[in-house]
Amino acid sequence: MPATDNQGSFLNRISIRRNQVVSMDGNHEQELEDLELFQKHVADRFADLLSQSEDTSGDGLLSISWLRKLLDVFLCCEAEYKAILLLGRDPSQISKPPLDKLVPEFHDRVVKALDVCNAVSHAVETVRNYQNLAEIAVTALEQRPIGDGQVRRAKKALNSLMILLEEKEGSNHKSTERAWSFGRRSANATTSSSKDRATSASQFRSLSWSMSRGWSAAKQIQAMSSNLVAPRGGESSSPALPVYIMSTITVFVMWALVAAIPCQERNGLLTHFPVSKQLGWAQSIIALQEKIAEEWKKKKEKNRLAGLLEETQRIEKLGVYLIEFADSFQFPPDADRLEEVAVQVAELGETCKKMEEGLVPLQQQIREVFHRIVRSRTEVLDFLDQGGKVTASTM
């Protein structure tokens, strides 16, 4: 990723030059130049993400691989942000307006982001459950010759999958009737009783993969974006700008993760948060935001269960198809139909493989983001502490 390559040299340049510059005026000029460069990098990185979002081979917008790139971008931007905020700066500057207010606000925001990271990380575990169930269906339906046994095995797994999908993702819309019908139909069609269905639904309800009671991802995102205001006038070239840029990036990244991955309580998730349209660096972020909002709307309209994660959507689509196939299955199977099904099964297998390869690294990356945020926050607070005079924010 080009962004990563820039990072090292950029940081070196800043620190070397900052050390050289002594006079205040020169320092200010330098700061403006660094800020310029930071904006350019942010713009470039998100432009990259925007262009990748067009990918139609399954690695496009909100796919696992796209999310992983998004997190990479976050980490790169964060490193640069911190350099701009701290290098060559006097702690007392951060304790003066406008930073005295903006930095604590930023820290409030990142603490919320940490909880979002945890919720997303828990939710990735749910997505891995989808994957496990889909894999059973693939195992069963790949067998030849195919018969009632295989089809029933696949259907059992897919029904559990649909129930789980509904439970984890269905809360976004009230009309879940269609979803329930999978459960009902299968319950009637096979020997499994409604009791089985109930138990299979609760099978995946796990305490440890949830956040504290009453915690809501949607509310966190709302709170994170509520006081996000672009610096105006004289402040727009001051250190207030990098804080605003990084805040916007943080909110955007967390929002995209929540939209994609079935976190606890996504009801009422914002479809839009204000980003000033005049800012050059924000153009791609705004475009991406619109695209994701569009997807979110589509999901609601079409009454789909799955969240926006590309792979989950695919699993839902293929799952629905395969359940229909299973419901109408009669032995001996029709050869043409089997060929059609084989294509779908292969696609499901392909999707499972992507998840197998991508979900654990994604989870690790989320954890990396988590630790990075914690460390940077500590560094800034320590930096302020060294300044001595400032009472550091408790958050």
Partner: protein, 661 residues
């Protein structure tokens, strides 16, 4: 077992094949050397052979009759159990024979399937139908086994009960608060708890599922993995065991907090949650050793599946413990948090080897690394908190003199604080050592002299002395707030004396000898060793000096009235007595209000005062008895002696009623 050879019979076409084969054998017999080409053809032929023997059955549909019979038999058995509501492995009516019959029926079906499947390249309708039926029954049986697995695991779950499960300190305990209004001494219970924790570190493995059902679970796993239903088995197993662990966390009262919640939490509740966390960490890691054993017992034969399942079972619960730890480490560095932070650090450090062992496999890498990361964060936070403690002492400013000149709460707080810290000696030394490597101006003093206990020169001891030096200079500025120079001395004397007493306390333990003390240093809270005898001597001199200065500043002016003047007349002697009496009463008024809390120190000062004052008074009276009029003597020497005993008690009194005519 079906015997497929039974459906075979010689067929006309085969006769040709047999003839050809015989021909080959003959040709091979003549030629001892095989060239590669021939070897390849022959080995291809070889791999075809087994398939060919069964291929021939296709033509004889009637040969399936026996297969069908066997299938029917197995199917009946399985369907029979299926219609029966009660579970096979139900503990109340468990019939080992029936269970093994069921597994045997599955084996039979599996064998039939394998046989039928190997025929299937151009299988006829009958064969396909039979295979379909067999697969279908197998699926039914597997679905049943999945249910049975869950049932057995749930029904025979056993609760992990370590010896020391009680949680006595559930009640909110005494707080250290930043106002420095602290308790006199550290609750000894805390020390007890720490010791008991060390004692019961003996590990033992507990059976989380009744050992009696382990073979059943194993045989079910065996069957399910054998027919490629391993995924279903693992899912069921993981689900039940994960839930059991979560349930156990609930039993341990570990709650689920967001980081935001933790950062906003009141210290008193946080303190309570941390204690629960420390206890839970200790227990859960031991619990996991038992869980690991269970996984090994049941999944040990299935390679990487085993560690994978173990990680799946445990990582959710561990994620919660990890996050709470990270959240605590992120908090602000108030001094009162230090002990809890060190508790947390120690419990992670103590368990780290076990964690590394439990999660040694690739699947557990992330969990393992997270705990190492947590240890680092807690260490950083603990160190920062300790260093900040010194700053807090320096920064504690007063605007008003401390009433009575007694022992300032800051002094008590600091001394009790560092006394408690001796229990964390080893940990704190590790943390401070890390820091000094990076610090250009270390606090560590140069090693001086030989034979000095190494404890006196460890990182913590150096920091202790630097902290008390900070405290002393703070007390110095606090003493300046007294307008009365005399009270300044009383105040400093009191506080230095208290410091010395604290450092010297536990002196009795010296009887046990140096070795014993070194061994028990962590538990004994032996500050003396950290400060060293030099420090003590120095500070005894300090408070004695203040005591002397007090006497000089205070009593010399009073006693000056009794000095022999040049005018020995009656008038001047009476005047001297009057002057002395007024001065004494003034001192009495002031110094009954001042306080020396330590009874011994108070007594010492009263005695020396008494000796000085009463002696001077008596001898003056003796010398001038003739020239003093009775009415001028308000207090007898004995009265004065009693009055002196009222001094330094911290309750102001006035001498009035005792006026004698």
């Amino acid at each position: 077992m079906s015997d497929f050879s039974s459906v075979l019979s010689p067929h006309e076409g085969e006769i040709h094949v047999i003839a050809a084969a015989q021909h080959i054998v003959k040709a091979l017999g003549a030629n001892k050397n095989l060239d590669d080409e021939l070897r390849k053809i022959l080995s291809q032929l070889d791999s075809h052979l087994s398939a060919m023997t069964v291929l021939t059955t296709e033509s004889r549909g009637t040969g399936f009759r026996e297969v069908e019979e066997q299938l029917k038999y197995a199917e009946e058995k399985i369907r029979g159990w299926e219609s029966n509501q009660s579970l096979l492995w139900d503990s109340d009516e468990f019939d080992p024979l029936e269970a093994s019959e069921f597994l045997k029926a599955i084996d039979e079906i599996q064998a039939l399937i394998e046989g039928l499947r190997s025929l299937s390249v151009n299988g006829n309708r009958k064969q396909k139908e039979l295979l379909n039926r067999a697969d279908s029954i197998l699926q039914m049986a597997m679905s049943r086994l999945e249910k049975e697995t869950i049932h057995i695991l749930v029904k025979h779950k056993q609760y992990f009960q370590p010896k020391n499960m009680s949680f006595r300190s559930c009640a909110l305990d005494v707080l250290y608060d930043e106002s420095f209004v602290s308790v006199e001494d550290i609750p000894s219970e805390e020390a007890l708890q720490r010791n008991s924790r060390e004692k019961e570190s003996d590990e033992y493995i507990f059976d989380l599922v009744h050992p009696q059902v382990i073979p059943h679970l194993k045989s079910i796993a065996n069957v399910m993995f054998g027919v490629n239903y391993g995924q279903e088995f693992c899912q069921a197993f993981i689900r039940v065991r994960r839930d059991a662990l979560e349930e156990y966390l609930v039993i341990l009262k570990v709650e689920n907090f967001s980081i935001e919640d933790v950062l906003k939490m009141e210290w008193s509740s946080l303190n309570y949650e941390i204690k629960k966390w420390v206890r839970a960490m200790n227990i859960i890691i031991r619990y996991l050793a038992s869980e690991k054993q269970l996984c090994d017992q049941i999944l040990g034969d299935y390679g990487f599946v085993n560690p994978l399942c173990f990680v799946e079972i445990s990582k959710g619960s561990l994620a919660h413990l990890l996050n709470f730890g990270e959240a605590i480490a992120m908090g602000t560095h108030e001094p009162e948090k230090l002990f809890r932070l060190l508790d947390m650090y120690e419990v992670v450090a103590d368990n780290l080897l076990d964690i590394d062992a439990l999660f040694s496999e690739e699947a557990g890498t992330a969990v393992r690394l997270e705990f190492h990361e947590l240890l680092r964060s807690l260490g950083d936070s603990g160190r920062a908190t300790f260093l900040k403690f010194g700053n807090a002492i320096a920064a504690n400013a007063s605007t008003r003199p401390f009433l009575g000149g007694g022992i300032h709460p800051l002094t008590k707080y600091v001394m009790n604080y560092i006394k408690t810290l001796t229990m964390y000696c080893n940990t704190l030394n590790v943390l401070l050592k890390d820091q000094e490597a990076a610090d250009p101006n270390p606090v560590v003093e140069p090693e001086n002299g030989q034979g000095v206990s190494s404890i006196t020169h460890c990182q913590m001891a150096c920091h202790f002395r630097s902290i008390t030096a900070t405290l002393e200079s703070n007390l110095d500025s606090k003493s300046k707030l007294f307008k009365d120079g005399v009270l300044q001395h009383i105040f400093l004397m009191n506080n230095f004396h208290y410091m010395v007493r604290k450092v010297k306390s536990g002196e009795l333990r010296l009887f046990f000898g140096d070795e014993w003390i070194k061994e028990h240093i962590v538990k004994s809270g032996e500050l003396r060793l950290f400060f060293g005898d030099e420090w003590i001597k120095e500070h005894i001199v300090k408070y004695k000096q203040h005591a002397m200065s007090y006497e000089r500043a205070n009593w010399n002016s009073v006693l000056s009235f009794l000095k022999d003047g040049d005018s020995p007349g009656l008038c001047s002697a009476s005047k001297a007595i009057r002057g002395f009496t007024i001065a004494f009463e003034e001192v009495y008024k002031n110094q009954t209000g001042s306080s020396i809390p330590d009874p011994e120190l108070r007594e010492d000062l009263q005695i020396s005062t008494s000796q000085k004052v009463i002696h001077a008074y008596r001898s003056f009276m003796g010398r001038k008895s003739s020239s003093i009029s009775e009415k001028n003597i308000r207090h007898s020497p004995d009265d004065l002696q009693n009055y002196i005993l009222d001094l330094f008690n911290g309750s102001p009194r006035i001498l009035q009623s005792s006026r004698k005519k």
